[in-house]
Symmetry: C2
Subunit: 338 residues, 2 copies
């Protein structure tokens, strides 16, 4: 962590995360999960890999668990949070760019014309991402992202995005770490957009966050080193890119993987096809009342092939609607304090 | 760790590493270091950053230390260990490639003609690296590298390469970790060549090893996923590449960096130019009797500009000759058992 989200002392952090995960010492694990097939499968898996001398025992070093972020750990509707960030950045920078009033995709953004923005296609989106994510130092971008995430609010709930994280998944992260697992994020999102807050919210330090990257260049200015973000993609950490980045970054195959969309299929394939005990799970967004109901046709977080493949490969589909007692962190906390 | 070097149980590993580092509980730190300027600087730095309430206190999360590998943690003379590996692999594969008898650079390797090999230049070397490091799965390469490192011997001492690691640096790694640091390797060498043994030898797990990478492709063969190593460079983790990879992989600036060659300059610049307490050190190979004496003119591990820059930027040059009581792990252990 860096400029804004200065790390709390480890002890404090561990305590606050434990409280956030509703995990008093000796309490039942995964309190926000109903006693359903997913909770049972998770607890059974953890019991098997941690039982010394058991046939499925896995040494702590090998207990690597990987998590997608958007739609798996926090909400990705009505749009990816990072897209909301990019739109806000365009508006914040508009005064310095009078030409954007007539230039797409910026015109569409400034006029809140989402149809025109969508029409600008991948090329338009990439243009917007590069303008808002590149051309500054890594330290500066970190500051911008930190400031934004602290102040921005979800359009539907009015909550900070960091309250729109799934309480049951926080508990899962905590439960795994309590059992010797090392937890990593493997997201299609931008790596440096996540890192300012993943440690305080998820208990995952920056070095265990894997994501998409843009090119970064090392420059010396008057003898002072700077890492400057360049307007060019370095690596897209999605689909087949996920197992590749797992190899580059972690260097060993995880034994558990959690995702929610077709972009996570290869990560789950790679994880669950290794020898020994394996766990693969996809969160199914089937709860239109408490969150959003979407799968095969959503522009964000499409889950289509993954539904079929989960049957073939014995992955669990987590039903948000029937398996979670509550969904968002802020809601679960409100319920608990009643 | 993976196929061959199965991780020992954590407790066992910690114990054996502690013994290797000569660190009985309560013992003086860095026992193989003479009471000289480098040892003093290290201990002073660690005392300052760990003193709660002190002006230079650094929270444990931010105590990131990065180490070059070749020439910093283990010997790189008479040639990089990975080059010795590549030469051995060419010989091992020669029976399947009769054409190599007449094709450079392979002919030179098979005839032990190092002058002709050098003449083949970068192009020849790259050709050799690609033939020996690509075209197999990541699991297969891991097995090949693991088998080789277990059986290969250093040409001068006849010792396994994993005994040709610097005992004082093992103690330094251990001392830093005992004080809450997270230790990373940031090497120009191939990442997957190091990972099979860094945990058992250095106490550094695969996910904390950063190095050069070749392209890796995700493939499904009859439904079974494989990561296949491609004959193309992905990222060269040397010089300006080192701070860039530190950003991608770690996501925050280290507070201590250790290297030995001009390839480490940018890593030390980036590390030591951050705010707050910083430590930058270059190991100077000035001990022709116990190791190898080389700096400005060596083809491997050239240290030239770094000597001047260390003065400007207040980096320490560690004199192997005057500051280390013993050098190699196997020698230090032999001395201690007398």
């Amino acid at each position: 962590m860096n400029l804004v989200f200065k790390p709390l002392a480890s002890a404090l952090l561990a305590t606050s995360l434990a409280l956030a995960a509703g995990a008093a010492f000796g309490a039942e694990p995964l309190p926000s999960w109903n006693d359903g097939p997913s909770r049972t499968a998770i607890i059974d898996f953890v019991n098997r890999v941690t039982q010394q001398g058991g046939a499925d025992y896995v040494a702590p070093d090998e207990r690597i668990a990987v998590f997608d972020n958007d739609g798996t750990l926090w909400a990705e509707q009505p749009m990816y949070v990072q897209l909301a960030f990019a739109l806000d950045r365009v508006k914040a920078l508009a005064a310095q760019h009078p030409e954007w009033k007539t230039e797409q995709p910026f015109k569409a953004v400034l006029e809140n014309d989402m149809a025109a923005l969508a029409q600008s296609g991948e090329e338009g989106l990439l243009k917007m991402v590069m303008v808002t994510h590149a051309g500054m130092s890594t330290d500066e971008f970190n500051q911008i992202a930190s400031d934004w995430i602290r102040t921005a609010r979800h359009p539907k709930t009015g909550q900070p995005y960091t309250e729109m994280v799934y309480q049951p998944m926080l508990e899962l992260l905590y439960f795994l770490r309590q059992n010797g697992f090392k937890t990593f994020i493997v997201s299609g999102g931008g790596i440096d957009f996540m890192r300012p807050w993943t440690e305080s919210i998820y208990g995952i330090p920056p070095e265990q966050v894997i994501g998409s990257t843009i090119k970064v260049e090392y420059q010396l200015k008057d003898g002072k080193p700077t890492l400057v973000r360049q307007p060019a993609l370095n690596f897209l950490d999605d689909k087949t890119g996920k197992p590749v980045m797992i190899q580059y970054h972690i260097g060993r195959r995880p034994i558990a993987a959690f995702g929610n969309s077709d972009g996570d299929i290869q990560m789950l394939e790679w994880t669950t096809s290794g020898a020994g005990p394996r766990l693969g799970m996809l969160l199914h967004h089937d709860d239109g009342k408490r969150e959003f109901a979407y799968d095969r046709k959503s522009p964000f977080g499409k889950l289509d092939h993954g539904i079929e493949e989960s049957k073939e490969r014995n992955w669990s589909l987590i039903s948000m609607k029937s398996e979670w007692k509550c969904v968002m962190k802020f809601e679960c906390e409100a319920q608990q304090s009643k």
